[in-house]
Symmetry: C2
Subunit: 387 residues, 2 copies
């Protein structure tokens, strides 16, 4: 008998940030008992998780002991102690996605090699052990400017990445094992979230187009549907499906693409979990990415990914110069605009560019959703009431 | 400064059934700190409420002490100790809807008098102090068969109501202060949920049409949009708005109407809270009834009530003859049908006709939603794995 059908399924989630929180909001609809592991007892998910366990995702014992409490284990972040996951798996725990996927994705070098070896188009690259090796390669003309350096491990939200346009910028190079890749001349950036269950059923969410805040190197606005041509859209969906199948994984895989100036699709990177580029699905797609993640990891039939309504998503980032207890300026005013759906993650301290929430604007046309989003961006500011 | 905009608002909810649970799911999106009072620590809302307080909604001290913990107090049930609420209000607590509304609604006699005195059409009625008074009235030919008897206080989900078709059925009469009203010959039953904030802004959700399970006297299927003519629909919305304004209340008011065989609208009863007839709004209306309740009680602008998609809602009732730990037969199979949204409330014990969850089916047409709902009803059964 399926445990979920008896209201007795214990789902463990490693880390309790906003992704974990929104996953729990969906899980509670099916009366799944949620366990959350996080080092911070004030993390967004702590308040609504059935059980909160304090502990670090990096710590072997914390992850191992947490896994012993649950029937099935998943994660909302790539940075998890994989050795503990492997040990739990060897003892029979159902971990989805599988630890081997996490291990691959944690290392951007392995990730790039996997793309290359499986016919997934990606920017050409080389691996380096340390900064000095890159200097040597530059001196020997084995590296062409401009290029992008990415640390193989530990990067997140734009950290661990350096863009080196010319010799004068080499002091920006980061220390540690890294890859460098040619700097793609980007026409647009899109993301597609693929879902797959253990039966091998695969579905893609509609592509979203990303607009960046250049100061913070964070996505600021995500638009769905994207402006991809039907042909490129089909190609991107086929690539996302191919990638999740090649990884032989169950769960969600968020695949970020560049479209270069020649109209070529290039996979930038991917993440085996719910993703910032899928928040809008809560309101604008028949099945949200969070519900789909639960369906996928529990080997249930995947839900429809048909678009209900065009949407524009804005990340609510902390305003520059504000650092302290959060205050959401313009909150009421934004609620007066039809189709504005505000999500506050529950981080009590605002910091410059910290992701504090998001707003999804749904409307009958993308044009009107974008206009409403402009208004929201001009009104809603994440500040602090103590400076 | 608004407390909600600082992530520091403590919202108290009296009772933690499914309505409280779904209210908390919405509240968590705005990082509202939720406190739940319920006599049962395994109630549906307990697991996701920020703070759970064990205590009875009927108990003066429990309600009073609970009110002292929060910034604003609301309820998901009419049966609350009003004396405690009045005391809290006199000490300055913000209670929404106001205790005077609850006091009126708790007493179906007062409720009916209010309709009559405020020009709201309702079935003609008389008040009685006890069963004996009704017998006397019958003997004196002051009462005509068939009629409906409703206990003035304590009824819920069809309990506290007796339908007396002829003299041979008078042994079904209930003891206690009651009203009797003429039995309306019902053509259809509809419900409209009105919302109002303290600024006086009022909005109605689209009318839903109710189909009953005759065995259990519980709503089994709710269809939106209803089959009301545009004229009757406008009239029903105008009546719901008039009623919430006459009550001078903030919050939600669910108004249940009969349409009689002459096409006349008759208000049956109303409830000042989220309502079973509004569950579908989570998926099928721009603003859900739960978000709207929060907007209304916090005096925020009301959200759009435009219909996104036709919907059919099914209440998941415990199957007859099953009493024990719950098992949801057909759960996976139903998830394979596009547009099927399952909500399990988290009641661990199934009992015959107990409301255990609901399913909202959204589809592009009502016809196709109804067909999918037929399939869900044939597949999904609330049983128990121990008999």
């Amino acid at each position: 008998m399926e445990k979920i059908a008896t209201s007795n399924l214990k789902l463990g989630i490693i880390c309790g940030g906003q992704l974990g929180k929104m996953l729990i909001q969906e899980a509670s609809k099916w009366d799944i008992i949620t366990y959350t592991l996080d080092a911070d007892e004030n993390c967004p998910a702590a308040g609504i998780s059935s059980v909160f366990v304090k502990g670090s995702n990096f710590d072997y014992d914390a992850v191992y002991n947490f896994g012993k409490l649950v029937d099935i284990l998943t994660f909302e972040i790539e940075h998890v102690n994989v050795e503990a996951l492997k040990k739990l798996k060897s003892e029979g725990l159902n971990i989805v996605p599988d630890p081997h996927v996490l291990e691959l994705i944690q290392d951007k070098g392995l990730q790039k090699c996997f793309y290359r070896d499986n016919g997934i188009p990606t920017a050409s690259f080389d691996l380096f052990g340390c900064k000095k090796d890159i200097f040597n390669a530059i001196n020997e003309n084995r590296v062409k400017f401009p290029f992008v350096q990415k640390l193989r491990k530990g990067g997140f939200d734009g950290r661990g990445v350096a863009v080196i346009n010319n010799l004068g910028e080499v002091d920006k190079l980061l220390e540690g094992p890294s890859l460098i890749e040619e700097k793609v001349v980007i026409e647009k950036e899109i993301a597609i979230i693929a879902a797959r269950n253990q039966k091998g059923e695969t579905k893609c969410f509609p592509a979203v187009e990303m607009v960046f805040n250049e100061h913070a190197n964070l996505v600021e606005r995500l638009v769905c549907p994207s402006s991809l041509t039907p042909e490129l859209n089909s190609e991107a969906e086929a690539l996302a499906s191919k990638l999740i199948e090649s990884l032989d994984m169950a769960g969600l895989l968020a695949v970020e693409f560049f479209v270069d100036v020649n109209g070529q699709l290039i996979v930038n990177e991917s993440a085996p979990r719910p993703h910032n580029s899928g928040h809008h699905t809560i309101e604008s797609v028949t099945t949200s990415q969070y519900e789909q993640h639960i369906r996928a990891i529990l080997n249930l039939p995947l839900g429809s990914t048909s678009l209900i309504s065009p949407s524009v998503l804005i990340n609510l980032l902390g305003e520059p110069f504000f650092d302290g207890p959060v205050f959401y300026e313009g909150f009421s005013e934004c609620l007066a605009i039809d189709g504005v759906k505000i999500h506050l993650y529950g981080k009590k301290i605002a910091r410059p560019y910290r992701k504090m929430g998001h707003v999804t604007v749904i409307s009958q046309s993308l044009e009107s959703a974008n206009k409403k989003a402009d208004k929201v961006m001009s009104l809603l500011k994440v500040k602090s009431w103590k400076n």
